[in-house]
Symmetry: C2
Subunit: 411 residues, 2 copies
């Protein structure tokens, strides 16, 4: 019997990878549109090859992570897979293509290669956060499979076949996903540019927009084909290559203002291109745009670029900023987006500690800024750049018991 | 003493002209961002030369129009200008450049060329509609000045110098604004492609989004420079020329589906490019996007493209559709965007008559569509394609009395 448990980070892209599949299923839920249109801009659907490089930071796994236990045993009758406490079919093409790619690459004489496996995976962050969990999940799965079958070397190309941006979660710190040029995607791999401790002052605030306070009560579901934006190729060919270079240099030199400006512009451009698909993809809502304008107002007040927003396929907004600015920005957020008194500090502020210090109201009154409605934000996650996937040595960490069954189906 | 009164249409672009000036003043009002970033993409700031052609329909002046009376008299001591009942400074550079261009072009021996003038201008539609009134206003002003000073021939280039898209309101029906190539903008003029009666079945619904029901209570004002989108030139050079051709042909052949698809795509692309400026320009809000998704759902239900949305620099949505679809679409709008009972039919439905016939609720329930909150829409304007500016012969129509003073300062 073999068992391994790993954690892997989520990653937050500052140069985005955008894929808009030709067939898309999207749901407008109470005026917030959720698209199962994953971020992308793929060359190939099965291999998940992007049309431009992307760049992200992997975030501290002690705050948010995917955790996966895999057991291989001759006593297991069949392959089983549990995700967040619910048994899933093992027939997922992506799961199987990752498993096959790992097995193809390992020592074929391994005795446990033909044993059945049990996989149990969890995210330690609420799915309500609306954060893309598939990147951390597939990175964790592939990393754990690699450990189980004793594979050394590059595995980000395998993680990529599970979920495109999962390849970036295979490494810690600042990571670039090279689009590569091989038709088979052999060189479409992730690379660590700088380790997690390269820019230790960098912090990330994730503002989770309150989806439970629905403004509208309608659900409209549509299934349609999508015309990809005609702007996407201009972006891929002309815009991204220069941005990747400038951004890498800004990270190398810890030049926050340059880093931040590119991050904001690239996020805006991703959402611009989603809006230019047909029918349009809209991820950000009025609250997301309000956060964006608060960040612009904050930078203006500071007379320098001190915070950078970036948004993925949802209404939440992620803010990159240096440790020295965290308190000030949080006091802005607290003023502009007040929370109701019945939400505890512990519920509201998650992750790394946040010292509470509220800015003088007179500052905001002087800037003619008044608070929005209460509870537009659900909570705030405070985190930083962290390491890549790792094996948890502690036996207590295993999610599966000795029989290959989840220890707990509720968490 | 000479007096002339004219009306001019507003126009609704289906291929957009987008200008994003380098210096922009924008105001985030309660999470709805109003930018004094007029639609554009200018080659030259003073001459208002666009970087791509645009195409619009002029709308029925009996429903919405700008109305202007100009009096010239030796008894007037100075030039005066009233707009919507309020006296304005006559020092506006754009007003004066239009006046100068008209006077330069007219017979220099005219006795009244040196008399002072009184200008009184009104929009007959509520400014609350958030509809660009400057296009109709400047078209009306320039048309009235041309009549006053007896000018024949092209004046759309002069209207353009007042407000870019005003040049399109100089003509009725379907109008193309040629960007031209002259550095002085001599060939940047509007041209009627088809008269108003070419496609008599065409109707326009303007859904005025309720701005008085503010969701957020904050006002953030910022003054910043704007980096123009890097995508705008790709649009101007690669996308628009083909769209103009295809759209003109679709109008010629009364091919609604092709017309509608291009109109929707072009609106989406305009807003995509605004989002890709820095800081981003956001005009549409959650309600606008909800309307967009209702139109997509309506077309899907009809299994054909039967309605086309298009949005300008605001949250309102304009819908092009054929007369035969108006009742059905209005019944969808009424179901999805209910109004509260205290708003009268007369307040809510404006313009051309709308027959009330509500669709069976079961249809919506079958489509899993439920109503949004009440009063997200303020009212609906029903109109059609109409003629260009004209002189009102009736003396009662004059907005100025014999002394050159506004007959009424309230309307």
């Amino acid at each position: 019997m073999k068992i391994v448990t790993c954690v892997a980070p989520i990653n937050m892209a500052v140069i985005k990878y955008c894929k808009c599949p030709w067939l898309i299923f999207y749901i407008l839920t109470r005026c917030e549109i959720f698209f199962h249109c994953f971020l992308g801009g793929k060359r190939d659907d099965d291999l998940i090859l992007p049309i431009n490089d992307s760049l992200s930071a992997s975030l501290n796994t002690h705050v948010m992570c995917a955790k996966t236990t895999i057991m291989s045993s001759p006593n297991l009758k069949e392959n089983k897979f549990w995700l967040n406490g619910k048994e899933q079919t093992f027939n997922s093409p992506r799961l199987n293509s990752c498993l096959k790619a790992i097995k193809d690459r390992c020592d074929q004489s391994l005795p446990h290669l033909n044993w059945s496996i049990s996989i149990c995976s969890e995210n330690n962050f609420p799915t309500a956060a609306g954060l893309a969990s598939s990147a951390a999940g597939y990175a964790c799965l592939v990393y754990a499979l690699a450990k189980l079958y004793g594979i050394e070397g590059e595995i980000s190309d395998i993680a990529r076949q599970g979920s495109g941006s999962a390849c970036r979660s295979i490494y810690g710190g600042w990571v670039q996903w090279h689009k590569g040029s091989s038709p088979l995607g052999l060189d479409s791999i992730a690379q660590q540019l700088f380790p997690a401790n390269h820019w230790p002052e960098m912090r990330i605030l994730i503002l989770v927009v309150n989806d439970t306070r629905k403004k509208y009560s309608s659900t409209i579901a549509m299934k349609r084909s999508v015309d990809t934006s005609t702007l996407i190729h201009h972006r891929a060919n002309r815009v991204v290559p220069e941005r990747i270079q400038t951004l890498s240099r800004a990270i190398a030199e810890k030049d926050f203002a340059t880093f931040a400006e590119i991050a904001m512009k690239d996020s805006n451009q991703l959402h611009a291109i989603c809006l230019d698909t047909f029918p349009p993809c809209v991820y950000m809502n009025d609250v997301s745009h309000a956060i964006v304008s608060v960040v612009h107002a904050f930078n203006e007040y500071k007379n320098d670029i001190k915070a950078a927003y970036t948004c993925d396929a949802g209404s939440n907004v992620c803010i990159y900023l240096l440790e020295s600015e965290v308190q000030d920005l949080v006091s802005w957020i607290n003023y502009v987006f007040p929370k109701s008194a019945d939400i505890t500090q512990q519920e509201y502020y998650r992750g790394l500690p946040l010292e509470q210090r509220n800015m003088d109201k007179a500052v905001f009154e002087g800037l003619n800024i008044t608070p929005f409605d209460v509870d537009l934000l659900k909570y705030i996650i405070h985190t930083n750049v962290g390491d890549g996937p790792e094996v948890l040595k502690d036996e207590q960490a295993h999610l599966l018991d000795d029989n290959g069954c989840p220890k707990s189906l509720h968490f």
